[in-house]
């Protein structure tokens, strides 16, 4: 026993879920503990089941919600769904869940919300699990020490029918963040800096484990923000070892084990962290003290810079792509983004729509007004976040500042639900993707933290949150 080879957390979780090891190059059959389902990537998978007359193997390990194509602007009933196709899609999920006895948090449900917000919120996301969803930001759940990754619709069908996936084992990558983040620098800035460092494909084929003092100091919302954007660096999954912060978040949540089962679960979760001496295929080290609030200037999440830095010149290898990005964004190399006029600010998405994110934004917005000529959308990640934010007075802060306070959903992150930007608009967004047209055809997205977004909304121009009084964000140094 004592001579066992030291293993990474990823290896422990993977090996515990191998139903059948692949031989002669075949992938492993990997068991899935929790399958999250939403309306956009599931209908064709349910059709596959229907065509083959297959049942859902484990509805009790399946959880559905509606988030991508749902409207967030609720002015009355029935819901003003964007169009007939979206309505049909929502109806299909309802019918499929009813047919297969899958629990669904549908429209009007107090626990509905963005799939990557409600899994943790309900306590269904737990350390050591394998979690999949037809959504690339499933990496979010790795914040709990789960192995969580996005899959395509064919694979959604595989998991519905067999609770398993055929998977080649990925490689491992350690990203160690030493020291403490400076005031005004958040988890969002940290992950944008990591992606700028490794590149948009730097993590391809790897599962990242984030470790080090700065990671340990993050609350669960911050850890989810970091893991959420692993896919933007090409990694299908990101993981953070569970610790007291994780257990304190989970205890008492409805989906979490209770009583003696809780104690047993925590004891087993404590064995998950990577063993001393465990080897990773790649290692990156980042010093937190060197980081600043980050913002993206281009059309991939790796095109990020410290907020007060100039937009870089093209390099020898990225000339054509750099030129395309610059042209799309209407910016110039060497230009500084501070002071750039912004038409829309979006605070929301599975990256930054939790209570901690809304509190950070509210510290900046309290007693302030959104600049004239700028609109601010604040979209909570779930109906539970919405209610909690209203109870805590955050919604009043946003409304008093002139922001639009919405129902929960993916909203303007994916712009397929009625919320979107106009062509040519500059949008500072707390979401995860700044691809061309992501927030509306021709709309120009600059990714940033909730603090930066809120500061920008008040000024109407891109603003460094560190220029505000330091007391504003001392509570949010994480």
């Amino acid at each position: 026993m004592s001579t066992a080879r030291p293993r990474t957390m990823f290896e422990k979780v993977w090996e515990a879920h191998v139903v059948e090891r692949g031989t002669s190059g075949a992938p492993d059959v990997l068991y899935v503990d929790l399958h999250l389902v939403h309306e956009v990537t599931s209908p064709q998978a349910f059709t596959l089941l229907a065509e083959r007359g297959l049942p859902v193997r484990r509805p009790d390990r399946t959880l559905a919600t509606m988030d991508h194509s749902t409207p967030t602007w609720i002015s009355g009933t029935p819901m003003p769904v964007i169009d007939g196709a979206a309505a049909t899609q929502l109806g299909a999920l309802e019918a499929n869940c009813a047919r297969h006895n899958i629990p669904l948090h549908g429209m009007g449900d107090a626990q509905r919300g963005i799939v990557h917000v409600i899994g943790p919120e309900l306590g269904r996301t737990q350390p050591g699990m394998t979690i999949v969803c037809g959504d690339s930001h499933t990496s979010t759940h790795g914040a709990f020490g789960a192995l969580a990754f996005g899959i395509g619709t064919s694979e959604v069908g595989h998991v519905l029918a067999t609770q398993c996936l055929l998977q080649q084992r990925p490689r491992t990558m350690a990203v160690t963040v030493n020291g403490a983040l400076p005031a005004g620098v958040t988890a969002k800035d940290l992950i944008l800096a990591i992606i700028a460092r490794i590149g948009v494909a730097g993590g391809t084929g790897h599962v990242i484990e984030y470790r080090g003092e700065a990671i340990r100091a993050l609350d669960m919302a911050g850890r989810m923000t970091v893991c959420n954007m692993s896919i933007e660096g090409g990694a299908r999954a990101g993981m953070i070892a569970p610790d007291e912060t994780t257990f304190a978040y989970l205890v008492g949540r409805p989906g979490a084990p209770q009583g003696a089962a809780w104690e047993a679960a925590v004891a087993s979760w404590r064995t998950l962290p990577s063993d001393a001496g465990a080897r990773f295929d790649r290692e990156i080290v980042i010093e937190a003290e060197t980081l600043a609030p980050m913002i993206t200037w281009g059309t991939t999440p790796a095109m990020g810079i410290p907020i007060d830095a100039p937009i870089p010149d093209p390099t020898a290898t990225d000339g054509a792509q750099h030129a395309r990005a610059i042209a799309y964004m209407g910016l110039t190399p060497g230009q500084r983004l501070l002071g750039q006029r912004v038409q829309t600010v979006f605070i929301g998405s599975c990256t930054n729509s939790r209570m901690e994110d809304l509190r950070a934004a509210a510290t900046v917005l309290r007693g302030q007004r959104v600049a004239s000529g700028t609109r601010l959308l604040v979209v909570p990640g779930s109906q539970q976040v919405k209610v909690a934010a209203e109870r805590e007075g955050l919604a009043d802060v946003f409304r008093a500042a002139g922001a639009e306070w919405r129902e929960s959903g993916c909203s303007m992150c994916i712009a397929m639900n009625g919320d979107r930007g106009a062509a040519g608009e500059y949008i500072v967004s707390t979401s995860n993707r700044n691809f061309e047209g992501r927030q509306g055809k021709g709309a120009r997205t600059l990714l940033a933290s909730p603090l930066t977004a809120a500061a920008t909304a008040v000024a109407g121009v891109i603003t460094d949150p560190r220029s505000l009084t330091p007391s504003t964000f001392t509570a949010h140094a994480a």
Binding site: T41, R57, H68, S154, R324
Partner: protein, 203 residues
């Protein structure tokens, strides 16, 4: 179910860009569909131009000469971004059977192979040569052999490629992965019966 991939000789469409993300391949506003067919009309929707646009600003797919093309030749990290399988559905519905690039995003590659769309990763020098050749001779016929794992353009170009052997076998034989998994039902049931690996099911 999935059709076996047979070797392919066809015209190629050159899209010499890196990091082509799934939002470009098919923008999110087309994702409210509940079927997988008919998405070719949405392929690269925001990059499409009118067929009478000047040649220098015309998007590659709008060149009237691309009818019948089956091979898309891109750059690095093709298919990054979301997990939407609508991306390969749109590519195959348009008529593509192969995407050649320097590298592919993981989820896109998996999704592509499950739909009989072969991804071929060439080393960068070979890919640069292929790009140059297609710029010079846009209507050149490109051959992709999965059987022997090479790409050729007549006698003017040849590059070998490697591919995950299981993915190759699945493409080649049209292996039904769901059928493969369903056949593991006894092993899955035994795994579930052990039950001690984790918690997770709803109470």
């Amino acid at each position: 179910m999935m059709h076996a991939f047979t070797d392919c000789t066809a015209r190629a469409v050159l899209l010499p860009r890196d990091d082509v993300d799934t939002d470009q391949i098919i923008p999110a506003r087309f994702l409210t569909t509940t079927v997988r067919s008919g998405l070719g009309r949405a392929l690269f929707a925001d990059w499409r131009t009118l067929p009478d646009a000047p040649a220098e600003s015309r998007f590659a797919l709008d060149d009237p000469g691309v009818q019948g093309a089956q091979i898309l030749v891109a750059g690095r990290n093709f298919g990054c971004g979301s997990s939407r399988e609508h991306a390969p559905w749109a590519l195959t519905d348009w008529g593509f059977r192969v995407v050649i690039g320097a590298s592919f995003a993981d989820i896109f590659r998996n999704n592509a192979h499950k739909n009989g769309l072969l991804t071929v990763a060439l080393h960068e020098e070979g890919l640069a040569t292929l790009h140059r050749l297609l710029r010079e001779t846009p209507r050149a016929a490109v051959t992709v052999s999965l059987r022997e794992q090479y790409v050729t353009v007549g006698a003017r170009f040849r590059a070998n490629f490697t591919i995950d052997p299981f993915a190759r076998r699945c493409l080649f034989d049209g292996v039904d992965e769901l059928g493969y998994l369903l056949a593991r039902a006894p092993a899955i049931a035994a795994f579930e019966a052990r039950g001690a690996w984790t918690t997770g099911a709803a109470a």
